[in-house]
Symmetry: C2
Subunit: 377 residues, 2 copies
């Protein structure tokens, strides 16, 4: 099913309002695509345009209030939000800031208004406008309320992520049709996105990867116009979207039979993600998962520059928590994580990634767990 029943938005809003009360907040002010969508269901690719600011207010009681450009009125009217205030944007003199300010004063005059301010957040509005606004209303942190809510997914959200994972699996399965010796890597990237769409992706906001002898230099470069060659390890890592939810996992292929050092390294990666999967359950921490993987990866090897070994996945390609030593987030049923161990082989790296859901008693793979031997193309 596309979209959500209204009860999902009611629950999210009511949970936010409970936490707001606890922290002494009378409103939340949200400005980013994911946060606006989380409380409304407002799904559009129009956020790709950086021109217009969009505002959503969660009051202490009742439904969210949208303060948005008039171009979004028709679509927002199809959500459960009833109080939709619009202005013709862009307006160079006052791009919604008076309307926003008036609305906030109306519902939370001289009271605390929380904006997401911690890790992995930003405020999507011009600094000039943010300064103006902060002269009229009392802005403060949201005490990570939005992070807390979004980090634990409902079954309905997990269904969408699992569907995205299934679509990616079908695309990964077909990679041997498009990737083999002498095909240029940029062509593989282009065709892999086609496979994702053909398998049912709504869009493909993220594709990274690499291919080089026995590993790759990094995992964030765009594809080179260079042919796949014998002994290359090809990696494709996709964040494709279905109904607004991401999967985020990768697969590796060896062009021709891999050398022993590569197949050993690959086995080590799988052993690492298996180890994290084994300890993953409500009550263990993000840090525990890091250590479960890292203790295996650092046997006679060194880490990579990735900075972490996995992360949350959901409405964003990556979200809280981070699988790092210092993230002591306690895992809860409903969290969705990527396990993303990486390893250095000579001067190259190889990275493996799976997506899992934290269940009542343990974990469950949302990606179809990779086979234990590296696929050969």
């Amino acid at each position: 099913m596309r979209g959500f029943n209204i009860d999902q938005f009611e629950k999210r809003t009511s949970k936010a309002q409970q936490l707001m009360q606890h922290h002494g907040l009378d409103a939340l002010l949200l400005t980013t695509e994911t946060n606006v969508r989380y409380f409304t269901g407002f799904l559009t690719r129009f956020w790709e345009s950086p021109t217009r600011p969009w505002y959503l207010i969660i009051p202490s009681k009742g439904k969210p209030i949208a303060v948005i450009p008039s171009i979004g009125k028709a679509l927002m009217s199809k959500t459960w939000v009833e109080d939709i205030r619009t202005w013709p944007s862009p307006d160079l003199k006052d791009d919604g800031i008076s309307l926003l300010s008036d609305t906030l004063e109306e519902i939370a005059k001289n009271k605390n208004i929380g904006i997401p301010s911690g890790t992995e957040t930003y405020v999507r509005m011009p600094q000039t406008d943010l300064k103006k606004l902060s002269q009229n209303v009392k802005l403060t942190s949201d005490f990570d309320i939005v992070k807390k809510l979004r980090m634990t997914k409902s079954n309905e959200e997990i269904d969408k992520i699992e569907n995205a994972c299934r679509i990616a699996e079908e695309a990964f399965r077909r990679v041997p049709e498009i990737a083999f010796e002498n095909v240029n890597l940029d062509e593989v990237f282009r065709k892999f996105q086609v496979l994702c769409l053909e398998a049912g992706a709504d869009w493909v906001p993220y594709l990274a990867g690499g291919a080089d002898t026995e590993g790759y230099d990094d995992v964030i470069s765009p594809a080179k116009v260079a042919p796949l060659k014998k002994r290359d390890i090809l990696m494709l890592d996709t964040g494709l979207v279905w109904d607004g939810y991401f999967c985020d996992y990768d697969r590796n292929w060896s062009v021709g039979t891999p050398s022993k050092i590569v197949s050993d390294a690959y086995s080590r990666l799988l052993e690492a993600s298996d180890a994290a999967f084994e300890v993953a359950k409500p009550g263990t921490t993000a840090s525990d998962l890091f250590h479960a993987m890292n203790s295996i990866l650092t046997q006679n090897s060194s880490g990579t520059d990735a900075g972490r070994l996995g992360h949350g996945v959901g409405m964003s390609l990556t979200e809280w928590p981070s699988l790092i030593p210092d993230d002591h987030t306690v895992l809860e049923q409903g969290m969705v994580l990527s396990l993303e161990p990486g390893i250095t082989v000579r001067d190259k790296i190889i990275v493996h990634e799976e997506n899992i859901e934290i269940t009542e008693t343990g974990a469950r793979y949302l990606s179809l767990k990779a086979e234990k031997d590296l696929s050969v193309i």
Copy 2:
């Protein structure tokens, strides 16, 4: 050619430094994908991950300084930037903010540091970190320096936009292969993205559109799972990317022969974009182009909720200027604009869009100008 020769980045940096001197700024601090890439060539889809902040400093003299997560070091090392300072991100206690602060103090202690703060900007870093930073260094506006630079494109940039336009043209040409009566709109959207990739797009960050009887409700909704039917007007509007540059234009199709009211409305739209094209040249203003179109559109009709009739196109899907009455930006050779007139037909809208370049003496179509009659599928 992919990428740019280093002289492009040297010119951009040196122009920024001249303007910085004029405005009494000793450094610029940049945080967003487009701005970091504009001065470095650092091109990656990794910005889709909201987790890590990325910082680029333009000092008063010399090359930009990158203060970035270690995961980006390999790719940034391939650019012309030499001073690359990294930290292992994410770090929950100090996600690069000390390193950034130290670097800024080193090059601009007690001096003014400009950050883009005006329309169509935001600061991509957590509020908590921005507050910490502003206690250590003097942050101020960038006086629209980055906007001024990016708004006028070099020939090398325009070549990339034109290539994106050509790729879109090829995809639009093939639409009758995928869109006809009884095909679901979501399927059309999915397959159109495939056509874009097959025509050579690197990726397709934006696709919007609509289809309904004699027009559509809005232009930002995701595709419905509903079949195309006789008398529908189908619109597809793509921002596809080639080598980091966007095109942004649309095409309309009529399912079966259009009614007179629709074909008249469509002619009016083309007349409007023609009128803007005629007046487009260095010295006229964004506002002039708006009025050229609006005077034609408002004859016996009313506008739409779009808020403007076109905009800049470049590294972003949409950028400055806006074709609105109040934007008096004087057009200059090298600007790239979308002309995007919209019209209301009964309770629906139809929108037409072209991309043009401002030349020395006038304008030139970058999109292959639409034929005067609505295409029938």
